[in-house]
């Protein structure tokens, strides 16, 4: 499908050149979604043929919730690059972001009890 060949590297999905072009403009404009490594991403739409391959891969993968860290691992993309791709998908309402439990100064007791119960079952 995407055999690396003598073609222009900026057309190879996932290649650094291409990702630079895809995300470079936004990186400079500095509008990045507030995403944590453990923000859960869930698709809101089916993939459609009009999507860039990178976006399509994310939308397909996030059929069920996945953390930013997991998407980054599966796509082998740096977190900051992925954040830019996710920002675009969020802006277009193609995915939703479920933010982490806000850790205030200190986490709340119910949260800690839930985690302890969960760990005890391991």
């Amino acid at each position: 499908m995407n055999e690396p060949g003598p073609e222009d590297p900026s057309t190879v999905p996932g290649s650094p050149d291409r990702l630079y072009i895809l995300t470079g403009g936004q990186a400079r404009a500095g509008k990045k979604a507030e995403l944590d490594l453990v923000t859960l991403i869930v698709s809101r739409t089916e993939t459609d043929p009009g999507l860039q391959p990178e976006h399509a891969a994310i939308v397909r993968m996030c059929d069920y919730p996945l953390s930013v860290a997991e998407i980054s691992a599966y796509l082998e993309l740096p977190v900051s690059t992925l954040t830019l791709l996710l920002t675009e998908l969020l802006t277009r309402n193609q995915v939703e972001a479920r933010p982490p439990v806000p850790a205030a100064a200190l986490p709340d007791v119910q949260l800690l009890e839930a985690v302890m119960n969960g760990l005890q079952r391991l």
Binding site: M1, N2, L37, S67, Y74, E76, P100, V115, M116
Partner: protein
């Protein structure tokens, strides 16, 4: 396992979790705990011992001014480094997911990784008794950032065996901070150190903060 021909260079458009690694649609929020410790101290082993998924690797590109990178005095340049970090996952219940992140090997990147410690419930410091100075520095940094932590002493057969009290003194560690022995290869032992962290957070939350 999954060997559907991901090519290294390009994007694998079919990449994604194995069906058994999929979270339920009801997963609404996640929390994270960071495992801190020097190279080879057992962070990845610990993550792997308790994770429900095969540990994954995420990466970030760090831009650093090249200070101290080489000796070409007066020549300032920036270096881009890709830093990798292993992580695992534990589903706490149908809604809540806990992620465990092992810090990258080189300690100078631990606090440069944006968002690694922000919002974390706390940290587990895996003490490397062969390189106490690394742990000493990181404990100082965690204290400075207000990240609560517990200390696990992963015993290696070849590592010097100090009594806990002596380690605590050497680390200049507050009496209130739990310090326990652990075996990073053992699931129950790793679970217990995470429970120790949660109980410690619990006491911090429920006890009045005057004792700071």
């Amino acid at each position: 396992m999954d060997c559907n021909g991901s090519d290294v260079r390009g994007l694998d458009i079919h990449a994604g979790p194995r069906s058994e690694d999929v979270l339920p649609a009801s997963a609404t929020a996640a929390v994270k705990v960071v495992i801190v410790g020097g190279f080879g101290v057992g962070k990845t082993t610990l993550v792997g011992a308790v994770s429900e998924i095969r540990p994954l690797t995420t990466e970030e590109t760090m831009t650093q001014a090249g200070v101290g990178v080489d000796d070409l005095a007066g020549i300032e340049h920036k270096t881009e480094t890709t830093v990798a970090m292993d992580f695992g996952r534990i589903s706490i219940n149908e809604q809540l997911v806990l992620y465990l992140f092992g810090t990258p090997g080189q300690e100078r990147f631990w606090f440069l990784w944006n968002g690694l410690f922000e919002g974390a419930l706390g940290a587990v410091v895996l003490l490397d008794t062969r390189r106490l100075e690394v742990s000493y520095d990181v404990i100082g940094q965690l204290e400075e950032r207000g990240v609560p932590f517990v200390v696990g002493v992963n015993r290696f057969p070849e590592s010097p065996s100090y009594p806990m009290a002596q380690l605590r003194a050497a680390m200049d560690l507050d009496e209130a901070v739990p310090m326990v022995e652990c075996d990073a290869r053992d699931r129950a032992s790793c679970r217990d150190i995470l429970l120790t962290l949660m109980r410690y957070l619990y006491t911090l939350t429920t006890v009045s903060p005057e004792h700071q």
